[in-house]
């Protein structure tokens, strides 16, 4: 899903990094957000609604709406649409509202 040829924009991608989503390894580029990297890898469902368990993805991608909360390296409720991806990040679907205190 990455755009290689664009008539106007030259995309400067950072150095390759890899992280895991639900244990699965995903390749990304430094400078991308976790949401962008997951989207590029074809991941659309990021969590499920609390009561009806309906699938949820991101919506605004600019940190405004809380549609994209996930568990990152043990910390709950991370807005992954504004969270830069780092080498070795552990990204998981969050069930429920999550704990405020991060677990290691």
């Amino acid at each position: 899903m990455r755009i290689e040829d664009h008539p106007i924009i030259k995309f400067k991608r950072g150095k390759p990094v890899s992280f895991t989503f639900e244990g699965r390894q995903i390749e990304a580029f430094e400078g991308e957000t976790i949401a962008a990297a997951l989207h590029a890898a074809g991941v659309r469902v990021l969590s499920h609604s609390h009561n009806l368990k309906r699938p949820r993805g991101f919506f605004c991608a600019i940190g405004n709406c809380s549609s994209c909360l996930m568990k990152v390296n043990g910390a709950y409720n991370v807005r992954i649409c504004v969270e830069p991806v780092n080498e070795g990040d552990r990204v998981e679907m969050q069930e429920g509202r999550g704990d405020i205190i991060a677990q290691a």
């Binding site: 899903m1 990455r2 755009i3 040829d5 664009h6 008539p7 106007i8 924009i9 995309f11 991608r13 991308e32 957000t33 962008a36 989207h39 590029a40 659309r44 469902v45 990021l46 609604s49 309906r54 699938p55 949820r56 993805g57 991101f58 919506f59 605004c60 991608a61 600019i62 940190g63 405004n64 709406c65 649409c81 504004v82 830069p84």
Partner: protein, 361 residues
């Protein structure tokens, strides 16, 4: 506690212009933005700008922030302090603002504050609007223009205002198919130049159409659209099934006024201006004398007017602190610029809204 002369919240075109204007007057400015880079909405706008020459028409949106930032670094040496990754969370009665910079709390007590926090996208109610694949236009632009990632393969665009038109065109440039642009109103809201470009690219624009439902198991697999009559009621039997994997909502913006509510600034609901907007005088000063506003947070408009409002807010925030060189002269020039930008038929809605804002009713 940090005590800058002027704090500006938001580093989009409005906030950057406010900073430049205040720094030119001689004031010391701290500019706070929650993003990792300055520029606000402009960082994803790859199209040539419409608007006034003075405010960078015919330059691509993405190229504007760089010009403002280098002017700021140049002219504001030692007096311009940008703080990135810094989200302003609260405004307290004693004029203290609370910010979060990379998980560290910061307290700041400026003498004057300019709020230029921009706008948030509106949502549209329909069954299935919570499925992954229903995105705001800003999200689609961020993915494709900032990160170079296709949002999907086939998009249904909802809304034929300037944003819907421009983003559709940009999708085509990125190699994504746009199945159609649908618009509830009976006419296209955006400028003719953009609509023509889109049509020439082969994208149909369906007016008097709305979305009834998005469907799909785990993510969007399609949408049902239908025709509307002149009372905006669905015409029975007019349903059409569109196989798309992305539904992009471009149905308007609303000012991000949370900090203004917290500060206790008086606001008024004016749909022409985008929702609740702060009352302010011609200096862009709100009902709290130390709080100024500029840009989309004050009225959903364009980058050009956001920049001029920023210049006015920055000018008076500085002048109130005694940096009042050539205030009258500069103010006159900026007000004329604003008037020119809002002249003509496209500015009619804004002019009406502003008249109601100031004139009671």
């Amino acid at each position: 506690m940090l005590k800058p002369e002027i704090a500006i919240v938001g580093g989009g075109p409005a906030g950057l212009s406010a900073a430049l204007s205040a720094v030119r007057q001689g004031a010391e400015v701290m500019l706070l933005d929650r993003d990792p880079s300055l520029g606000g909405q402009l960082v994803k706008q790859t199209h040539m700008f419409f608007g006034s020459k003075k405010e960078y028409a015919a330059i691509r949106g993405i190229d504007i922030p760089g010009k403002l930032i280098s002017a700021l670094e140049d002219e504001g040496k030692g007096r311009f302090k940008p703080l990135l990754n810094t989200a302003v969370l609260g405004y307290y009665d004693d004029g203290v603002i609370l910010a979060d910079k990379e998980e560290e709390a910061m307290l700041i007590k400026p003498q004057k504050i300019v709020i230029a926090t921009g706008a948030a996208e509106k949502m549209l109610p329909f069954p299935g609007n919570d499925l992954p694949g229903v995105y705001g236009a800003g999200a689609v632009q961020t993915l494709m223009n900032v990160y170079g990632i296709k949002p999907g393969n086939r998009v249904l665009m909802v809304g034929a205002g300037n944003i819907g038109l421009i983003v559709s065109y940009q999708l085509r440039q990125a190699g994504v198919e746009v199945a159609a642009i649908i618009e509830g109103a009976s006419r296209i809201g955006g400028y003719l130049v953009h609509a023509t470009k889109v049509r020439r690219a082969g994208i149909p624009i369906l007016t008097s159409h709305t979305i009834k439902e998005a469907y799909g198991k785990q993510k969007v697999e399609g949408a049902l659209i239908c025709n509307l009559d002149e009372n905006w009621c669905a015409i029975p039997g007019s349903d059409k099934d569109m196989k798309v994997d992305v539904i992009c909502l471009a149905v308007g913006l609303t000012p991000q006024t949370e900090l203004l509510w917290q500060a206790g600034c008086q606001q008024k609901y004016l749909p022409e201006l985008g929702g609740y907007v702060p009352l302010r005088n011609e200096k862009m000063q709100t009902s709290l004398s130390s709080v100024y506003v500029a840009g989309d947070v004050a009225c959903i408009e364009e980058a050009g007017s956001a920049m001029v409002e920023g210049k006015i807010a920055g000018l008076f925030a500085a002048a109130d602190l005694g940096y009042d060189e050539k205030v009258e002269e500069r103010f006159l020039a900026y007000s004329q610029e604003l008037e020119e930008l809002r002249a003509g038929p496209t500015g009619a809605k804004i002019r009406e809204g502003l008249a109601r804002l100031n004139g009671g009713v």
